[in-house]
């Protein structure tokens, strides 16, 4: 290339060599199509692949498993444990296959693969819950089926949290009753105006305080861990869909958590999070109030001890204490008032997993198709000698590369369009933005993806070498694309790598158009990154291209 000066001297047949010759680029692209067209065995799978890809993903993803076979070992056999068993049986997720008396029996079923999940209800579970002491339910999950295990674990977690919240609720009611009693006692003391007859408000407030502190610390921990766990287990879908903005720390009382465009399966879990964060807030408020009462009661007692007579000050303190006690009651009632959850869907109603995954599937299909498909392009033609014939003509390297690459780019664009159409037809995927914009992004990305294939194709001397190189590139990128494994569960360093990949820029831009209805002007950063990558691959393949027969 470098030694070939641009010559404008007419050739004997009137031709001149230009560095970029549109007519020749078109001729090369057309030739590649004619070769492909004649090869039915190659043509057929090439177009079947994107259809297969979307069909497999469409049916395989987005649906939560139902009726996971489960077993229960009940050592308790109390009223409470039977209630737990009934609740488990009523869950759609689990199908209770057996209730056994010992862990060994349950374990055997798990080993045999008859059940995937085993719940173990220990002895004295009911008693412990009633007496507000630490109680534990165990769950054993068959980890060999990781996706089911994941779902079973997080569901068991949610279930346990629900039980806890019910227990907490019971305890809170008891506290509420005690609080009422404190109010009455204080009121009584106030009206009697006789400290001697006052039934020691401080002692009853002390009991209240102790109970509250205990309940609070337990439920606060529970709430925090539940939020954390649920968020983790949902992390994939949540982040994948960029759905949840952030949890606003719920204050006591009613709270609204905005959930943005969440698939239906995630909504219930997110609702749970909302309830717990609000519950946590309410309890914090209660605790603060209870502290106030306790301090007031202390002061009141100090007053009454010092003066040993009723006085206006005592009455004043007592009235403050009464207000605080009322606040505790209302806090408690707020805590078991369900928190309303409003689901906002800025990107349209009823979005499912496939809607969000489609962009990634599309980008990955393009990338895989391009990196796996260009073996024939330069490497194959070099090996079979036909590239020699092209080398003999006055055709510049960049024209050879562009002509070949444009053919494959068009091929990938057509395949991707088919994939989208099949997704729309089979899974009623709705596209918010313009189809033309999608095709433009697809074409831009396909140029970069085929650019990667081209770099490998100019490096390799034959198709076998090409395949070896292509595997090296395509395998890691397949797994970093977020289609098979969520990017958010990767280590931070890998996440950075994944986010820098053009395949994820493309997926991002495509998701923007498909889900959020963005136009190209809103996607300029993504487009700029993709174009820069295209230029990089072109420069690389030009530098590595050898116009020699060695």
């Amino acid at each position: 290339m470098a030694t070939e000066k641009m010559q404008l001297t007419p050739m004997h047949n009137g031709a001149v060599e230009r560095p970029i010759d549109i007519r020749k680029i078109w001729a090369i692209a057309k030739k590649n199509w004619m070769v492909l067209k004649g090869d039915k065995i190659r043509l057929f799978p090439l177009f079947l692949f994107p259809i297969l890809m979307i069909v497999v993903f469409g049916f395989a993803s987005g649906n939560t498993p139902k009726h996971i076979p489960a077993g229960i070992v009940d050592y308790d056999n109390s009223e409470f444990s039977i209630m737990v068993r009934d609740e488990l049986a009523s869950m759609e997720l689990f199908s209770i296959k057996s209730v056994s008396g010992t862990q060994d029996e349950g374990r055997k079923l798990l080993d045999e693969g008859k059940i995937k999940v085993l719940f173990i209800l220990p002895e004295k579970l009911g008693e412990k819950v009633a007496s507000a002491s630490d109680a534990q339910i165990q769950v054993m999950v068959d980890e060999s089926d990781s996706s089911v295990a994941q779902i079973a674990k997080s569901s068991a977690q949610v279930f346990a949290s629900r039980l806890s919240s019910e227990a907490t609720d019971m305890r809170l009611r008891a506290i509420s009753e005690k609080s009422m009693k404190v109010q009455n006692d204080i009121a009584g003391a106030n009206s009697a105006n006789a400290p001697s007859s006052m039934p020691s408000p401080s002692s009853s407030a002390g009991v209240l305080m102790r109970d509250l502190a205990l309940t609070y610390s337990k439920s606060a921990n529970l709430v925090q861990s539940t939020i954390r766990e649920t968020k983790n287990s949902l992390g994939y879908l949540v982040d994948q869909n960029e759905a949840v903005e952030s949890f606003s720390p719920a204050s006591a009382g009613r709270a609204t958590i905005s959930l943005l465009a969440v698939g239906d399966q995630q909504q219930s879990a997110l609702q749970q999070i909302a309830v717990y964060s609000a519950l946590g807030g309410a309890q914090a408020q209660m605790f603060k109030d209870a502290q106030g009462i306790y301090a007031d009661a202390k002061k009141a007692q100090a007053q009454s001890d010092a003066q040993a007579k009723s006085s206006a000050i005592t009455a004043q303190f007592l009235s403050v204490a009464k207000t605080d006690a009322a606040s505790v009651s209302s806090g408690i009632s707020a805590a078991h008032t369900p928190i309303t959850l409003e689901v906002l869907e800025p990107y349209g109603y009823g979005r499912r997993g496939i809607d969000f995954l489609l962009a990634s599937i599309l980008a990955l299909t393009i990338f895989q198709g391009a990196t796996m498909g260009l073996g024939r392009a330069i490497a194959g033609e070099r090996k079979d000698g036909s590239l020699t014939r092209v080398f003999l003509t006055p055709t510049s390297n960049i024209t050879i590369i562009l002509g070949t690459q444009i053919f494959y780019m068009l091929l990938e664009t057509v395949r991707s369009t088919m994939l989208i159409l099949v997704a729309i037809a089979l899974f009623s995927v709705s596209i918010s933005g313009s189809m033309l914009d999608i095709i433009i992004i697809v074409a831009i990305f396909a140029m970069g993806a085929t650019g990667v294939g081209m770099v490998l194709s100019v490096l390799a001397k034959n198709q076998e070498q090409y395949m070896a190189l292509a595997m090296l590139v395509s395998m890691p990128i397949m797994f970093l694309s977020g289609v098979f494994f969520p990017i958010q569960t990767m280590p931070p360093a890998l996440q950075t790598v994944a986010q820098a990949l053009p395949v994820n820029y493309a997926a991002d831009a495509l998701r923007g158009i498909m889900v959020k209805g963005f136009t190209l002007s809103q996607l300029m950063p993504d487009i700029a990154a993709l174009l820069a990558f295209n230029a990089l691959t072109l420069v690389l393949s030009l530098l590595l291209f050898k116009r020699e027969l060695v």
Binding site: E4, T9, M11, K31, G385, S386, P394
Partner: protein, 335 residues
């Protein structure tokens, strides 16, 4: 006859277009070297081929013929040295060289998934030929190489001979001034070989300069106007067939089967016919003469008769290129 008569078909445009070399040379190269690592495939090749010549490179496998062709056709860059092909510098005007040369490479270099006509159209498009001219010329060439009736069958299904013919057609699509043919007859059956040689000669008669490599010495002898003998990357001799043969120092060798011989008799015979050398082995005496005079055979036989020596078979041989080659390279051809 595999190829059609082509008296008028090959319209070469050397006459009306740019002169090739200003000095009438189609190819000039000086000290051309190509190394592959430490191995020198072509070593200081200096050569001139005149416009319109049919020049042959003769040499064993691995002599550097193909490497030379690849360099002259811009498929390999020389390690050092300069060359002008069709009047253009190989290093700086490669595109101009490419547009003026046609190449029949050793491997067919065809698009086997395309039909002959698609092959020719595609290649023609890369030479920026107009659609109309391209179609006409493709049909014309396919008729010449007798592939017209198979023009819509994929080239991949063709036999070696058919592929070679298509390759020739492909190399001529853009009316080149110089045609390089790298061992075009290797692997062909005798009929195809003969037909291809005839076509080569016709093309040359139509004004195309042809560079032809072969390791078949008989072929080179019959076909080429001048021959360059290559061995171990070096050009060891260049000239017409006659010039090369005269390097042997004699024009004919007379071989006689004689019933007895001794040193005296051999000396007498040498003197009698003016032989430059004589040798005897296995009952056959060989006398090499610079020129064969009229009556030499008669003089010899009557002399031997008088001496009482019986003469069995006898023949007169001209030196072959093989002898020249062996004496130049001190080895037989490796194939």
């Amino acid at each position: 006859m595999l190829f059609h008569k082509i008296e008028y078909s090959i319209k070469c445009n050397t006459g009306r277009l740019m002169p090739e070399g200003k000095n009438g040379f189609a190819i000039e190269c000086k000290d051309l070297v190509r190394k592959f690592g430490t191995f020198t495939a072509v070593d200081s090749l200096t050569l001139q081929v005149k416009t319109g010549e049919l020049f042959g490179f003769l040499g064993p496998n691995g002599a550097g013929k193909t490497t030379t062709i690849n360099m002259l056709t811009t498929l390999l860059s020389p390690s050092s040295g300069i060359a002008r092909v069709a009047g253009f510098d190989l290093a700086t005007q490669a595109a101009l060289v490419r547009s003026r040369i046609g190449v029949v490479p050793q491997q067919f270099a065809l698009f086997e998934d395309l039909t002959p006509v698609e092959n020719l159209w595609y290649i023609g498009e890369l030479y920026e030929m107009g659609r109309g001219i391209l179609k006409m010329r493709a049909d014309e060439l396919l008729k010449i190489v007798t592939l017209y009736d198979k023009k819509d069958i994929k080239a991949g299904t063709f036999s070696g001979g058919m592929k070679q013919r298509l390759s020739v057609a492909a190399s001529l699509i853009h009316s080149p001034q110089i045609l390089f043919m790298d061992e075009p007859t290797t692997g062909l059956d005798p009929q195809s070989r003969l037909a291809l040689r005839e076509l080569t000669q016709k093309l040359n008669q139509n004004g195309i300069t042809i560079i032809y490599t072969t390791h078949d010495m008989e072929e080179a002898d019959k076909l080429c106007q001048r021959i360059g003998i290559m061995d171990k990357g070096k050009l060891v001799a260049v000239g017409t067939s006659e010039q090369l043969k005269s390097l042997q120092g004699h024009s004919h060798s007379i071989q006689l089967q004689i019933s007895r011989h001794d040193g005296k008799l051999v000396d007498e015979l040498k003197q009698l016919v003016g032989a430059v050398s004589a040798s005897y082995s296995g009952g056959t005496l060989e006398l090499r003469v610079k020129s064969l005079k009229h009556g030499t055979v008669h003089t010899l036989t009557s002399f031997l008769h008088r001496k009482g020596v019986d003469v069995g078979d006898f023949c007169i041989l001209e030196p072959t290129l093989e002898e020249v080659f062996i004496s130049l390279t001190k080895k037989d051809l490796r194939e």
